[in-house]
Amino acid sequence: MNTRPHAKDDHNLPTARQLIMAWVLLMALTVGTMIAGRVTSAASLGLAWTALLMVITWAKARTILMVYLNLRVAPAHWKSGFSATLVFVLLLILGIYALEALGLVIHHK
């Protein structure tokens, strides 16, 4: 008999290799964030770069949910539900910034 308390892995956890691959992806996406967000410049981003930044942010958040938080083992409706929630939050933010970038906000002096 195996006396280890949790020798049987019934939690379907990600393997060490899967976790390290997710970390490599997250680090690469963070470098992408630094480039798209021009961390060393004060220049405005513009709508296209802002949109790219939101896409990269979605990919990072989704990787954390799916691998680190192990949501990948959940039923499809939970996975798509969380992905859709992230899309909603990030699209909302992008939409608000787009109002300013497209000159649709009137500023009263």
Binding site: H6, L13, M27, S44, T57, V67, W78
Partner: protein, 202 residues
């Protein structure tokens, strides 16, 4: 064959466990502790509303926000993102080690995760010191009010996450580790959205 006391106790435990699972409804389909997922959903909603509010405040006064945001140390924010996702890796590896019954390795991974959490807080202190010494306090303008509130509220989660990780490493079980690490990953999840919204979008 007559049923022993131990058999009855085991059946009782299973019944209790089963009824608890059923009590969570659809949340029981999620991995780990359902209560942690409720917290994650709540935090996404609360911080999501905070980020949307920040974006609205930006478009109402873009010049002030751009000028104020340019004083932030964007590189420090990016480095902190790398620190936190690396800390998240070690928290997840700690859960993996616990599932294999390797308590020593689990504690080593938790210690590294905690150490990186402290590095995150150290960078935050350096950032705050820089802003405060430049005269940028919480009531300087709307940007700095929202900056200190959002990053400060997140930093409090980091402090709480470190305490939780230490507790689950001492009183360890797979469920405890999974729950503690889930809180830590939630803190990570919020930061990867907070960083571009507060530091980069302009």
């Amino acid at each position: 064959m007559s049923e022993t006391k131990t058999d009855r106790e085991q059946k009782g435990d299973q019944a209790t466990s089963g009824s608890l699972d059923e009590g969570w409804g659809p949340l029981s389909e999620l991995p780990g502790n359902p209560m942690m997922w409720l917290l994650i959903i709540s935090e996404i909603a609360v911080f999501g509303a905070g980020f949307a509010g920040f974006a609205v405040a930006f478009v109402m006064n873009p010049d002030l926000f751009r000028e104020s945001q340019d004083t932030l140390n964007r590189l420090a924010g990016a480095i902190n993102t790398m620190v936190l996702v690396t800390s998240g890796l070690f928290a997840a590896l700690a859960v993996r080690a616990e599932s294999e019954g390797r308590t020593g390795l689990m504690r080593l991974h938790v210690a590294i995760a905690v150490l990186l959490g402290l590095v995150f807080l150290g960078v935050k202190v350096v950032e705050y010191s820089g802003e405060l010494s430049a005269g940028h306090t919480i009531d300087t303008n709307t940007f700095f009010t929202l900056y200190y509130l959002l990053t400060g509220f997140h930093a409090l989660h980091v402090v709480l996450g470190i305490i939780i990780l230490v507790i689950v490493a001492i009183w360890h079980s797979l469920d405890n580790l999974e729950t503690g690490a889930a809180f830590w990953h939630m803190v990570d999840l919020i930061w990867v959205i907070l960083f571009p919204v507060v530091y980069l979008l302009r």
